[in-house]
Symmetry: C2
Subunit: 164 residues, 2 copies
C-alpha cells in the first residue's frame, strides 16, 4: 500500500492531536457531503434512506433485495419500509426473478431515475468542486485513506466492483 515501513522517518502525522483533527474533519465533511441531497429530499416525503436505496439500485439495476440488505447494512424490515414507499410512488419497480422466483429484482422507473439524477447531481457537484480544488494527488490520497478506514469485508467488496 504505502511508502512507509517506518524506520526513522517522521511519524508526526500519527500524533493523537493529528488523529483528532482527522476525526473531526470526517465528521464535518460528512455533514457537508449529505447536506445537498438532504435539502432536496426535504419537502418531498423522502429521507436519506430513500436516497441510499435509489443510489444503489441505480448503480446496480436488477439487484435483489437481499443484495441491497448486504450493501446497506440495515435490517430487511427497515429497508422494506423504504422500498414500499418507493414502489407506491412509482419510483422503483420489482420484477420476480426468473431463475429463482423468491427474488425481487429492483429497477428504477423513469420517475425514479429522474429523482436519483437530481440527488446525485447535487452530491457530485460538491464532490467535483472538492476534487478540483484539491487536485489529483490529494484525491488519490483521499481514496487511499478512506479505503483503509473501511471494515475489511467492506473494503473487499468495494475494491472488487468495477476495477480500474
Amino acid at each position: 500500500m504505502a511508502e512507509n515501513s517506518s524506520g526513522g522517518e517522521s511519524l508526526l502525522f500519527l500524533t493523537d492531536e493529528n488523529l483528532r483533527k482527522g476525526i473531526e474533519a470526517m465528521f464535518f465533511a460528512y455533514r457537508g457531503f449529505t447536506s445537498d441531497p438532504d435539502r432536496i429530499l426535504d419537502g418531498l416525503d423522502y429521507g436519506r434512506a430513500h436516497h441510499r436505496a435509489l443510489h444503489f439500485i441505480h448503480r446496480s439495476p436488477g439487484t435483489t433485495v437481499g443484495n441491497l440488505l448486504d450493501i446497506l447494512g440495515v435490517t430487511k424490515q427497515s429497508l422494506n419500509r423504504v422500498l414500499r414507499s418507493l414502489f407506491d410512488d412509482g419510483l422503483v419497480e420489482a420484477k420476480v426473478g426468473k431463475k429463482d422466483r423468491r427474488e425481487r429484482h429492483l429497477y428504477l422507473t423513469e420517475k425514479g431515475a429522474a429523482l436519483e439524477r437530481s440527488l446525485s447531481d447535487a452530491q457530485r457537484a460538491r464532490m467535483r468542486a472538492a476534487y478540483r480544488a484539491a487536485g489529483p494527488v490529494a484525491v488519490a490520497g483521499f481514496r487511499t485513506v478512506l479505503e483503509a478506514m473501511m471494515d475489511s469485508e467492506q473494503r473487499r467488496q468495494f475494491l472488487k466492483e468495477t476495477s480500474p
Copy 2:
C-alpha cells in the same frame, strides 16, 4: 455528462464514475469510522449523540451549551435530552458562568473523561491504522479533500481552531 473536454491536463479524476466511487467510499468509510464507538455505546444507555457531546466537551472544556449547539448543528431540545442524561449519570458537569451567569460551562467529570477516552481510543485506533497504512502523503490529501468538502462556514471554523 462526458469525460470532460477542457484543458489538456488529465482531468480524468473528475469523471462521473470516479466521483461516484468517491461518494460510495465516503459512505462505507464513514460507517467504519463510527462502528467501533457505536459498539461500545451499545449496551450502555448511550448513542452516537452522546459520543459527539462528550467529544466536543472534552476538546473544549468549559464550552457553553450555545457553543455546542453551533458545533453540533442540532436543536437545543435535542441536545438537551442528551445533556440531561449525561448530567444525571454524572459524566458531565455544568458550572454557571462567572462573567455571564446565564451561561453554563460544561466539563467532563472523571467518569465522563473515562468513557470519552475509551470511545476515542477505539476511534483513534482505526484512524491510526488507516493513516499508517496510507502514509503521510495520502493523509495530507485526505485532509485537503475533506476540508474542501465542508460547508464554507464550517471550514472556516475548522481551520481557525488550533492552527498547525
